[in-house]
């Protein structure tokens, strides 16, 4: 590393590693915090905590998914499906309130909070609360921007913030899009994702481009470790070209996707009037089941409910994901604001395509990841809505 110092800034921030050695890299990274990577499973890929048990000859049992395309997004690393906030304990006739911030420090993305709590004790105390998210696709990186807008704006959500700040994101250029993908419609370049460290892989290497101070810090701490120099190489002269060609290829692949032509043009701030009363909602929502599948797999959906659970000993106040598709969503003493399925269905898509950009400088709260297309039990989705409404049904 030291000998490379004379080279240009850009080059010092670019490193590479042989694909075969990723297991070793993960082992190093997991020492710096909890490492999550996309892993293939029976139900498709999901972000899992790397538990790198070293097998023979440094072959690790846990392999990164080649698809990088997880069923759920990685948002629950920052915004878990359920999370305890505080606890009320009735002691005789007194009530005692405790903050659950202990758990905040220890929580991870598993919705098995029981499991999560148990395995935290073993973690190195110093790094226990650091999180490293590896292999995040461009669309998901973009989705964090949407979530940040919601949770980090005042009043700031401290629970989210604490986790977000402690997380280093290794993004990964997306070479394996699905037929349901349409991130390019939202101006996202799948070949060149944002993140703290932006990665791209070809058949032989993963290339790292350090994009933030957080990324820089982590990478240099890695380089300081012994025997890491063996695996983490500086890039050679031909590498920039390999990377560029790989990027071109990924872009080309994205352009050929069946949904790449979906246009966001007709939507955005100020279009409420155009779509709100459209008769098309009736047909679009007719077969919606009102389940929360789309919401829960969505990387940008950020609604939650706060509920109390009586354990018998005390009452735990926790929050959990909620879905605007549910009939009891934002139910108040006066009733629900959106009584019919049509209204709830409309809310979800109007929020993604109109309301959110209106309040957030034109930023759509959809990143075209295609998860809801894959998950919807009735195959009704945002693309169909956009095509129907954008195709003139709106006016």
């Amino acid at each position: 590393m030291t000998s490379e110092k004379t080279k240009t800034e850009a080059k010092t921030k670019m490193l590479k590693i042989s694909l075969e050695k990723t297991g070793l890299l993960f082992e190093k990274l997991s020492a710096a915090g909890k490492l999550y990577i996309p892993v293939d499973g029976a139900a498709g890929a999901s972000f899992e905590k790397w538990d790198g048990k070293a097998g023979e000859a440094n072959k690790f049992e846990m392999k990164m998914s080649s698809a990088h395309n997880t069923v759920k997004s990685a948002k629950d690393v920052f915004f878990p499906q359920t999370e305890d906030l505080m606890r009320f304990r009735v002691n005789g006739k007194k009530i005692e309130v405790t903050d659950c911030s202990d758990y905040l420090n220890n929580s991870n993305n598993s919705n098995n909070s029981d499991v999560a709590r148990a395995d935290n004790s073993a973690q190195n105390e110093k790094t226990a609360n650091n999180i490293i998210l590896f292999g995040v696709r461009a669309c998901d990186v973009k989705s964090f921007e949407v979530l940040d807008r919601v949770f980090l704006s005042e009043p700031c959500d401290t629970y989210y913030k604490a986790r977000r700040e402690r997380t280093v994101i290794f993004s990964m250029a997306c070479a394996a899009p699905r037929e349901t993908c349409f991130c390019t419609s939202f101006g996202i370049d799948p070949s060149c994702p944002e993140g703290d460290v932006s990665c791209i892989a070809d058949g032989k290497y993963i290339y790292f481009e350090i994009k933030s101070e957080k990324g820089e810090r982590l990478m240099s701490s890695l380089s300081d470790m012994s025997d890491i120099s063996d695996i983490l190489e500086s890039i050679g002269d031909s590498d920039p070209e390999s990377v560029a060609s790989r990027r071109r290829e990924i872009k080309r692949r994205a352009e050929r996707l069946p949904l790449s032509g979906v246009s966001t043009e007709p939507f955005g701030a100020g279009t409420t009037g155009r779509y709100f009363s459209s008769p098309a909602w009736e047909e679009l929502s007719a077969t919606c089941l009102g389940c929360g599948a789309c919401t829960f797999v969505c990387p940008t959906c950020q609604c939650y409910d706060i509920k109390d659970f009586d354990t018998g000993e005390s009452v735990v106040r926790y929050r959990c994901w909620d879905s605007c598709m549910y009939s009891d969503f934002t139910k108040m003493s006066a009733g629900q604001p959106r009584l019919t399925r049509l209204e709830r269905f409309r809310q979800r898509f109007m929020h993604k395509l109109v309301y959110f950009p209106e309040n957030n400088d034109g930023l759509f709260s959809c990143v075209g990841c295609g998860r809801c297309l894959a998950s919807c039990p009735v195959n009704m989705n945002i693309v169909k809505v956009m095509k129907k409404l954008g195709g003139g049904a709106g006016d």
Binding site: S113, D114, R117, F309, T311, G312, E313, S314, V316
Partner: protein
């Protein structure tokens, strides 16, 4: 085995008893001073058919290690057919929980008539010793409930 502890472990047992037979049977066991472990706590229901599978799960959630449902003997139900329904529901529930890997031995249905005080005590003794052998219910527990009970207990100590 009166109020005896096995390795210091005391199981928690919820016993649902129908008002007409089993609850009266339990009363008779009392009347005849037939003892059984105090870990058994009885909940009175009009008929064993009032026991919803949800109650059984609720008991396990709240840390029960065993659940026993007692009703009139088949054919003797005060409400004609209540215990026949119990018999089917619980047969299926137990088999289903077993399928999910929950120890079948933790759940039981017993028919105890109002005149079977001795049977009631014997059944409870047997059930408690069986549950004591199984130990704590680990597979169908809600850690949120258990964790906090443990906190309270350690504080009390």
């Amino acid at each position: 085995m009166q109020d005896k502890q096995i390795n210091g472990y005391r199981p928690k047992i919820a016993a649902f008893c129908c008002n007409w037979c089993s609850y009266a049977g339990a009363d008779l066991a009392g009347g005849n001073r037939l003892s059984y472990p105090c870990d058994v706590k009885i909940i009175r229901v009009p008929c064993s058919c009032r026991v919803d599978p949800i109650f059984v799960l609720r008991a396990f959630r709240r840390g029960a290690d065993g659940v026993i449902i007692c009703g009139c003997h088949p054919g003797d139900c005060h409400y004609t057919s209540g215990n026949y329904h119990t018999r089917r529901r619980m047969s299926l529930l137990f088999s289903f929980l077993d399928y999910l890997g929950i120890e079948r031995e933790r759940m039981r249905v017993e028919w105890v008539s109002a005149s079977e005080g001795a049977k009631f005590a014997a059944v409870m003794n047997d059930f408690v010793s069986e549950i004591s052998k199984l130990g704590e219910n680990r597979r169908l527990e809600d850690v949120r409930c258990k964790e906090q009970t443990e906190t309270r207990l350690s504080e009390e100590r």
